[in-house]
């Protein structure tokens, strides 16, 4: 038997070589996919982590202590630690740095004390606190003086210094209780916080001042002490933050993996180590989150790659089955002879098995080598290279290649297992029923898979998702099976038309197509391969476009940077660097009515300049653009104000109070820079004694005063007054060298629910000889002014009560909001009424959040109208064509971190964690084309060999070569062309129906915005053209050969 197999193998070397090539290609394709899901994720994870921004790979912990030391419920150990936290700091530092093993790390600390009382000077109570910034130079820029170096020395934020009347050389005290002597502090420097230098750790987030700390009391700080000086200050610690920044530049994949494992366990370790010595321990693990995100992306990518592997395996199996049928058909006479001479079917199966085993053995080494080569090539092409032998060794690859080769080899034996030969030309009834049943079963599974994909919410984390892996494969297989169903009907119609035709060539082709069912397997392969290729091309484009749209929706604009602590003037630098359209942006969590949730459940407020929303906002809406969606959000009323000149403004404040009541006024102006950013700047505190008091403040170029806040405080003592008094007052704020912008001045909306210690009855603005004077007039209530400040705000615009907003569909669903509904949102402690003007699919930069979108100017006016002077500028957005060098230039200027839509999109599409998917899809397209052509080779070679006798007979009847060639080519063109057409249509259908369901986000969630089908006509055209040309290159020479060989010799052989 072995001799027979050997000799027959030599005789049919060409066909067997083709089968071997298909087995090698199929095994290698699956092998590459396995490498892409096992070896490349480690490398991708390493690259993703190494190239992540520094802030995304830190680990940190914040250790909190009670606000006061007199709380008897607080454990004594906590109180002791608050007084001296050095032990817990050392322990926490060790755990944090240990996360990264031997990798270099940098530890930074930020410590602050509980609030203490500043001297009141007869006025209202004011709080301040001390802080140790670790390395102060890295946290702030000195404006004046120096950083403290000795005990008792402090540096103060410039804004706090101005508000408190402090300067370098002045001194103050901090006391645990109001009126205590407290600890003396000498101011040795003033500074401005450095953007992005961790000021979110600060109780006042770097603002330096807050008029409503915790909603009721002014607070100032931090008063920065010398490094290490907090422990000797005698003031208990309120909070200690530790952050470890690893240097991952040289980290290997294994070191990253080990750090990941350690990070996963860090929270538990820190909590258990510190929990009983602190009031609360908040562990912040950006590194772990980044790693989790990367793992999720890896899971999503793995799903895609495994789906490709399954499709590739299905294609290879189909090709091998086709080859097996062709070989069996070719050997049918030999088998019949052997059976006639007494050979059992088992012997035939054994012969086929032996031959298949030899092919499997021959397949293993080249398939493994090819898989490794392709893996290296693809890894390099998609930016994952250089990749050597996987860390896990070659065993998994060899195992998978062997399994696939064995499976394909087993398929070669399948035709020999049939109990009897089928009659050529007419399929037996059992076969038809079985095939129909299999098709129906496949269709049922495909429908289930489609429904599963459609309702698919969240992927299964870091591992491949079975629905994403199996779904597309089942849909394409079922589609290919169904696509073949109409072909016989078409063929029968062609058959019927052929009967009535006069000529021979085309009718003969039609008869060949209609009556030679051997082409079904080849047609199935071509349909499936074409569908895989076109679906691959279409899905890749759909997925990439969806990833770009998700990136756009996530960033919200073309370029975004967080705002400086002092936002004024920030837009100018951005405009200079980018040339784009700049908008100040509010982006924060807000309380909405009674809903005040955190994290993913928080309601997010985004406010931007909506006057040209399409020029600024990015992210596709299901219909229409952002300009249409945000129409009506911007206020049509102009903003007036006082236009300042130069970079400094000189204010002269004067005024008087009736009834001889001593009174001070603290003046704060709300400035608006040319880019629309607004910020309150404290000008200073003066006595209302009719004397002019000059105050100076630095302003950005082109700034305009759009509101003036005057805070009246009673001087002297409550005991000086023995009866209630309504004291009329006049406060004049004159701005030198300024001009009055057209507009209306008015008083802010009264806070109707609060006690009013002072009211403003009129506000007027007029140009005077020295500039512009704004006069505030009204009355103050005494003795109420001793208990509560009288806050008066003059506005250079009409007060805004309702803020029009559009809400995200999620928020509308969750709260049942509809157009026209009103909701109250809280900006800090300031309530603002919002009115729903529309519902959008999502809000830019908050694609998944329950969110509101407002106009920044309108929101700001509403906030100031309600007496809130806190800056609303949380970020800057820039829309337009951003130069590629802009981000680097901005970050070099200390503006940042910069988030670029294009960069985020690039990372989403071309980043290392998604690279494997792109590689796998490219591989699928190539493999599909190759296997389709291989199938055509196998089928055409066998079919045309068998046709040579018929061709010779036709020639014997006098048919010309041209007639016969035309007939043969037409038949092959239909047998190949129709499946290609059907496959392309199936690919398009799958792309339309399944593609958007597979284009899930990197986190494994449905994309926002929903994925839209992209059908790249050029790429699809090139794919189909390549397939058609590839098939033509095979078929035309084979057809020509069949006609050429149809000579007298063939007739003689037939006769023999």
């Amino acid at each position: 038997m072995g001799e027979l197999v050997r000799r027959r193998g030599r005789a049919q070397l060409g066909v067997l070589a083709a089968v071997l090539a298909v087995m090698v290609a199929g095994s290698a394709l699956v092998g590459v996919c396995v490498l892409l899901t096992t070896a490349s994720p480690q490398r991708a994870l390493q690259l993703a982590i190494v190239h992540s921004p520094d802030a995304d790979v830190q680990v940190g912990v914040a250790i909190g202590f009670p606000d006061g030391t007199d709380d008897t419920d607080v454990d004594a150990r906590v109180t002791a630690t608050a007084a001296d936290p050095s032990a817990v700091v050392a322990q926490a530092s060790s755990l944090l740095t240990g996360t990264f093993g031997d990798l270099p790390t940098t530890l930074t600390t930020w410590s602050s004390t509980i609030m203490q009382y500043l001297p009141s000077g007869g006025g209202s109570l004011r709080l301040a606190y001390l802080a140790d910034l670790g390395v102060p130079d890295e946290r702030g820029n000195l404006v004046d003086g120096r950083w403290p170096t000795a005990r008792g020395e402090v540096a103060v934020p410039e804004s706090a210094a101005k508000a408190l009347g402090l300067d370098v050389g002045s001194s103050t005290t901090l006391a645990a209780e109001p009126g205590d002597r407290g600890t003396g502090l000498a101011v040795v420097g003033t500074f401005v916080p450095r953007p992005g230098a961790g000021w979110d750790e600060d109780p006042l987030t770097g603002a330096g001042t807050s008029q409503n700390y915790r909603g009721f009391i002014p607070a100032y700080g931090p008063f920065v002490v010398a490094p290490g000086g907090l422990a000797t200050s005698g003031v208990p610690f309120r909070r200690v933050s530790l952050q470890v920044q690893p240097d991952l530049a040289g980290a290997s994949a294994a070191e990253v993996a080990r750090a990941g494992v350690a990070a996963d366990a860090l929270e538990g370790a820190l909590t258990s180590a510190l929990g009983d010595r602190a009031q609360n321990v908040v562990v912040d693990l950006p590194f772990a989150r980044t790693l989790d995100g990367a793992r999720e992306q890896r899971g999503v990518t793995s799903s895609g790659v495994l789906a490709v592997a399954l499709l590739g395996a299905a294609l290879a199996a189909t090709a091998v089955l086709l080859a097996a049928r062709m070989i069996a058909a070719r050997r049918a006479p030999e088998a019949a002879l052997l059976v006639a001479r007494g050979a059992s079917r088992g012997r035939l199966v054994a012969q086929a098995s032996a031959e298949a085993a030899v092919l499997v053995m021959l397949c293993l080494v080249p398939a493994t080598v090819l898989a490794l080569g392709l893996f290296g090539l693809l890894s390099g092409a998609v930016g994952l290279g250089p990749v050597g032998i996987p860390e896990g060794g070659l065993a998994p690859l060899v195992l998978v290649v062997t399994a696939v080769a064995l499976t394909l080899g087993a398929l070669l034996v399948v035709p020999w297992l049939r109990s009897g030969p089928s009659r050529a030309g007419r399929e037996d009834r059992v076969g038809v029923v079985a095939r129909s049943g299999a098709d129906l079963l496949l269709l049922g599974f495909a429908v289930l898979a489609y429904l599963q994909l459609r309702d698919h919410g969240v992927a299964t984390g870091s591992r491949a998702d079975p629905a994403l892996v199996v779904g597309p494969v089942l849909c394409l297989l079922a589609g290919a099976a169904l696509a073949l169903r109409p072909l016989p009907l078409l063929a029968r119609r062609a058959d019927a038309r052929a009967a009535a035709a006069r000529s021979l060539a085309l009718p003969l082709a039609a008869w060949g197509v209609a009556r030679r069912p051997q082409g079904t397997a080849a047609a199935f392969l071509v349909v499936l391969a074409t569908a895989c290729a076109t679906f691959g091309v279409g899905f890749a484009a759909t997925w990439a476009q969806s990833a770009r749209e998700q990136a756009a929706a996530t960033v919200g604009t073309d370029l975004a940077v967080p705002a400086h602590v002092d936002p004024l003037g920030g837009g100018a630098a951005l405009h200079a660097a980018t040339g784009g359209r700049v908008s100040a942006v509010t982006s924060r969590a807000v309380a909405l009515g009674s809903r005040a949730q955190q994290g993913d459940q928080a309601v997010r407020l985004v406010a931007v300049d909506t006057r040209d929303a399409d020029g600024l906002l990015r992210g596709r809406l299901p219909s229409g653009g952002w300009t249409a969606a945000t129409a009506g959000l911007a206020s049509a009323d102009p903003v007036g104000g006082v236009q300042l000149t130069g970079h400094s403004a000189e204010l002269v404040v004067s005024g008087h109070v009736g009834e001889d009541v001593p009174m001070n006024v603290s003046v704060t102006v709300v400035l608006q820079d040319p880019d629309g950013a607004r910020a309150a700047v404290a000008a200073g505190t003066v006595t209302l004694d009719d004397a002019p008091h000059p105050l100076a403040l630095a302003v950005p170029s082109g700034a305009r005063v759009v509101a003036i806040d005057a805070q009246l405080t009673a001087a002297g003592g409550e005991q000086d007054l023995d009866h209630d008094v309504q004291a009329p007052y006049v406060v004049d704020v004159t701005m030198r060298d300024a001009t009055l912008a057209p507009g209306t001045w008015s008083a802010a909306l009264p806070a109707t629910t609060d006690y009013v210690a002072a009211s403003m009855e009129s506000v007027t603005a007029a140009e005077v000889a020295s500039g512009v004077r704004v006069r505030l007039e009204g009355s103050a209530s005494l003795p109420g002014l001793f208990w509560s400040d009288g806050v008066l705000t003059a506005l250079a615009f009409r007060p805004v009560d309702d803020v029009p907003v559009v809400v995200s569909a999620r928020l509308a669903d969750e709260l049942g909001l509809a157009v026209g509904d009103g909701v109250q949102l809280s900006l800090g402690v300031t309530p603002v009424q919002a009115k729903v003007r529309g519902v959008v699919a999502y809000v830019p930069s908050q694609p998944r959040a329950a969110a509101l979108l407002a106009d920044e100017d309108t929101l700001s006016r509403a906030a100031v109208s309600h007496g809130s002077l806190d800056s609303l500028t949380d970020a800057w957005w820039v829309g337009g064509a951003i130069p590629t060098t802009a981000a680097a230039a901005l970050e070099a200027q200390g503006i940042g971190p910069v988030t670029e839509r294009a960069a985020v999109a690039h990372a989403s599409v071309d980043g290392p964690l998604r690279a494997a998917q792109r590689a796998a899809i490219a591989l699928l397209v190539i493999a599909a084309l190759a296997l389709a052509i291989a199938g055509v080779v196998l089928h055409s070679t066998t079919a045309l060999d068998a046709r040579e006798v018929d061709v010779a007979r036709l020639r014997g009847l006098g048919a010309s070569r041209r007639t016969v060639r035309t007939s043969v080519l037409a038949e092959q063109a239909v047998l190949t062309g129709l499946p290609i057409l059907a496959g392309a249509l199936l690919g398009a259908l799958a792309c339309w129906a399944v593609g958007p369901l597979l284009a899930i986000s990197a986190e494994g969630l449905p994309p926002v915005p929903s994925a839209a089908v992209v059908w790249p006509w050029q790429a699809q055209g090139a794919t189909i053209l390549a397939l058609v040309l590839g098939c033509a290159v095979v078929i035309v020479p084979l057809a020509a050969r069949a006609v050429r060989r149809a000579t007298i010799g063939r007739l003689r052989m037939d006769a023999a």
Binding site: A424, G425, S503, W511, R953, G958
Partner: protein, 233 residues
């Protein structure tokens, strides 16, 4: 070997050799043959004697190395490929030992093939096919494919197909070679009948004595030479 004026087939000094050198096979060595119009000539000889080669030369399926082959006064040996195709399409029809039917076509479609080569109008073709199938006694089998017919029926279809385009010369190569004697006899009778009925010339290679007896004349090929003209009954 006797010359006839106005012969349907005239073969003169034809040589045909396959292969070269030591392995060369001399299939025909200077054959001369004339077949008169309307004559049924049996070509007799053992396997390998050159019968099929001579038929292929007469039918324009092959070319002689030397000599001339005239069919209806047309020199077949010098015809171009298109000319040979035309000869087979218009003047000469073949009946093969293995029937030579196209397996995916029905009996009627096989018979209609030569008419399609002439692009005959469909109604005319169908009438002719019907007539021919009736002539060969297969009217009831028109829609059956070759694998659904017996050997004798297949050969009848082949004969009907050969007659479809009304050729002047019928060339049959062992037409009863794969048939049992009874079926073979009926096929031979059919050939004899249609030759007479259609007034065509026939050259039939055979070693069946019955066929030889039915022929007008029999010629004998031995090792590529026409050695004797066998008399007929």
């Amino acid at each position: 070997m006797t010359g006839h004026l106005g012969a349907a087939v005239r073969v003169r000094g034809v040589h045909r050799t396959f292969g070269q050198g030591r392995s060369a096979v001399h299939a025909l060595r200077g054959v001369d043959l004339d077949v008169s119009p309307g004559e049924l000539v049996a070509l007799v000889g053992r396997s390998g004697s050159g019968k099929t080669t001579l038929l292929n030369l007469v039918g324009g399926l092959d070319r002689p190395d030397e000599g001339s082959v005239l069919v209806d006064d047309v020199e077949v040996a010098t015809l171009t490929e298109d000319g040979q195709d035309e000869l087979r399409r218009d003047r000469v029809a073949f009946v093969f030992q293995t029937f030579g039917l196209i397996p995916v076509l029905t009996a009627a479609e096989n018979v209609g093939l030569p008419l399609r080569l002439h692009e005959a109008p469909s109604p005319q073709r169908e009438r002719r096919v019907e007539l021919l199938l009736e002539l060969v006694g297969l009217s009831d089998h028109a829609l059956q494919r070759p694998d659904e017919l017996s050997g004798g029926q297949q050969q009848r279809v082949a004969i009907a197909r050969a007659l479809a385009a009304s050729p002047r010369l019928l060339v049959a190569d062992e037409p009863t070679g794969q048939l049992d004697s009874e079926t073979g006899l009926s096929v031979m009778a059919l050939i004899r009948g249609v030759v007479e009925a259609e007034g065509m010339t026939a050259l039939v290679a055979t070693h069946d004595p019955v066929m030889i007896a039915l022929a007008d004349r029999a010629v004998h090929l031995v090792d590529g030479r026409l050695v004797e003209d066998v008399g007929h009954g």
